[in-house]
């Protein structure tokens, strides 16, 4: 219990969000939507970390989430730069059409 909120609700919400993220990453073809799904999965993990941190009465969970957010920002900038580079070569970001390593 975190105040009146049961931890199981937090974990269920986190699991549902993560499963939706997995579905998006596996089933979408647009690289941007796959990337958004990955961001969603990170947020699901963050929710679980904060829930456990609050339930255990420590700050460690929030510290980890702080670092996860910083790393997500770095990841987003590099990933989007890769998309720009790929788009310059192939004029598409449909992952089914990006099937060559070298042009």
């Amino acid at each position: 219990m975190i105040g009146p909120i049961p931890l199981s609700h937090v974990l269920l919400a986190s699991g549902a969000l993560f499963a939706i993220g997995v579905a998006g990453a596996l089933l979408r073809r647009n690289a941007i939507q796959i990337f958004l799904s990955i961001e969603l999965m990170m947020n699901a993990a963050n929710l679980a970390l904060i829930g456990y941190g609050a339930a255990l009465g420590t700050q460690q969970g929030q510290i980890i989430v702080f670092f996860v957010i910083a790393i997500a920002a770095a990841e987003a900038s590099v990933g989007l730069a890769i998309f720009v580079a790929i788009f310059r070569h192939t004029e598409t970001i449909d992952v089914n059409k990006i099937n060559l390593l070298k042009w």
């Binding site: 993560f18 499963a19 998006g24 941007i32 939507q33 958004l36 969603l40 920002a73 900038s77 720009v84």
Partner: protein
């Protein structure tokens, strides 16, 4: 009351995450994910993490998603169109693994009963960790990690610049 608000916010986050995955238009996906992130920020406040909630709105909704929107508009990415190239094996295997994964998650949650080892007592609201204590912890015990992240961000900055540069621009 707090429990009700938490459930409502979590539900909004899940519904809009579903919309994000289901939609074909990337711009609508990004906007749905922004709503989902705002709802998640509400749950963070209820889970006694107001600083992280602010970071969520400023960094995730404010910076990262705006970067996505900017890129979608820059590249002029339209909606994914059904072009007749169906990949039934890919769709089937993807759906199957999602179902298996969700089942595993549920099973694990049920098996653990979402219990915690020791520490069953509730955290009082006045024990709310304020940003001051968080910052003190960050700059004492986690100083090395903090500096490592700053180097990582610098590396990402340089990497993004190099990757997105035009090769023949002199």
């Amino acid at each position: 009351m707090e429990r009700l608000i938490f459930d409502a916010a979590a539900l909004v986050a899940i519904v809009f995450a579903g919309l994000m995955v289901a939609g074909r238009d990337p711009i609508k996906s990004v906007l749905a994910l922004a709503v989902s992130f705002f709802a998640l920020a509400v749950t963070y406040v209820l889970l006694l993490a107001p600083f992280i909630a602010a970071l969520q709105i400023i960094v995730y909704a404010g910076a990262i998603l705006v970067l996505f929107l900017f890129l979608i508009m820059l590249l002029n990415v339209g909606p994914e169109r059904p072009d007749g190239v169906r990949r039934p094996v890919q769709t089937f295997l993807g759906s199957l693994s999602v179902v298996v994964f969700a089942g595993l998650l549920l099973g694990m949650l049920r098996a653990s009963g979402a219990r915690l080892p020791g520490q069953p007592e509730a955290v009082a609201a006045d024990a709310l960790p304020d940003p001051k204590a968080l910052g003190r912890l960050l700059f004492s015990d986690y100083l090395l990690h903090f500096e490592a992240v700053s180097v990582l961000l610098l590396a990402a900055l340089v990497g993004a610049f190099v990757l997105a540069r035009r090769e023949n621009a002199q």
